[in-house]
Amino acid sequence: MEPVVLHVADYLALLNEVLHDRVPSNEILIEGEVSDYRVAQQKWVSFDLKDEKAEAVLKCFATVWQIGTPIEDGMRVHVKGFPKMYERFGTLKLNVQSIEPIGEGALKRAYDLLKKKLEVEGLFDVSRKRTLPRFPKKIGLITSRDAAAYGDFLRIVNNRWGGIEIDHAHVHVQGREAVPEILGAFRHFNALPLEERPDAIVLTRGGGGLEDLHAFNDEQVARAVYQSIIPVVVAVGHERDESLADYVADIRASTPSNAAERVVPSRADVKYEIDMMLTHNEQRLQFVMDEYRTAAEKIATRVGHILERERERLVMINARLHDRAERWLPLLRESVESSARMLRQVDPTRILARGYAIVRIGGEVVKDASLLAIGREVAIQLGAGAVDAEVLRVNGKGKQKLV
């Protein structure tokens, strides 16, 4: 058989065709350790996949968008991809479709790297954390109905509070379907019209290792929590467990039960608070009423004092008056009696009794005879009795004496 002559490019094309047709790339996960991991122009990723034992090396190529999880040298990974001969370099490279860290150590490193990345981006910023309404009407619950977390959460909610609606989105919390389902649930709640939207979303599951928690450490889930317009409570497993979704959540609850405690208040607490407010109001009102009463009493007391003082003053004045009168009365009596004596001495009747008479005209005492007119009637008062007379002569002049 004559050998076929091929140009290099054609030969490589043939190789690629064979590699594509004969290697079942979709069904193979290549396990190895990453080394010489590089990113060029923030787009192109290249690394070597090594086999420690056999000293074998596979060159790998990818874009940053194909690498979901942060990768670092030394990580053990599972890689899926197509082998391809690159003409210009004459090398065979694996065109990577997906890469996943394996084993706790690699997962932990991947987790730490993603955590760092999200932290730098500000997804964990405390300043963006929202508070939940104190009395929610509706809660969106994202978890598996088969998980213990589901029962725990509902039990505690029912113990604490009543009259609300819990919309449950059943999702896988681990395994292949977990991430797309959780993302779908977030989309569902956030797409609801405002009046149907829950007041809070609770994303929860029981505890587990890093491998179990992968969905809660997934970058897309972390971003969905970050982007949710509804405040999110994340609760994973037991106290010690942590996940990236935890860090992004508005509220990080330690357990599913704790998540219930964080989203609904306790009846007993609220009842106590209501009673406290009532008591407080009553005390304030009582205080005000007491104030008014005290003021009224004060006024009454003051008025009483004034009245009392006035009464005392009156008594005193009265006493003083009495006192004065006691001292003044004898003097007064004495003076009245001496006046009476004097008056008695000048009493005209006593003079009249000695033979004098008082002549009056029209009640006026006449002291000068020349003032009298002849024929005028005069009244003469004597010591005893009185006579009326007519003036005949004044100082020798007038009517002739008849005799």
């Binding site: 009259g163 819990i166 989105a169 209501i274």
Partner: protein, 69 residues
């Protein structure tokens, strides 16, 4: 949505009660008339709230949709 909605909005009533309590605290010299009115309103709110507190059931609605990408 399907459940009969209680006419009392718990959050709003609670807030109103808190406002009344604040009012009692903030006024230096309370008007007795207004104080009495506020106190009565507080009592009314508290009794509505407590009645609501006695509701024990919560409604769980399963979302029928499948959540996938």
């Amino acid at each position: 949505m399907t459940k009969k909605q209680s006419p009392v909005d718990f959050a709003k009533s609670f807030e109103e009660l808190e406002k009344i309590t604040q009012w009692f605290d903030s006024e230096e010299h309370l008007d007795l008339d207004k104080g009495l009115k506020q106190f009565e309103r507080g009592l009314e709110l508290a009794s509505m709230l407590k009645e609501k507190l006695s509701e024990v059931e919560n409604k769980v609605v399963e979302i029928k949709k499948r959540f996938e990408d």
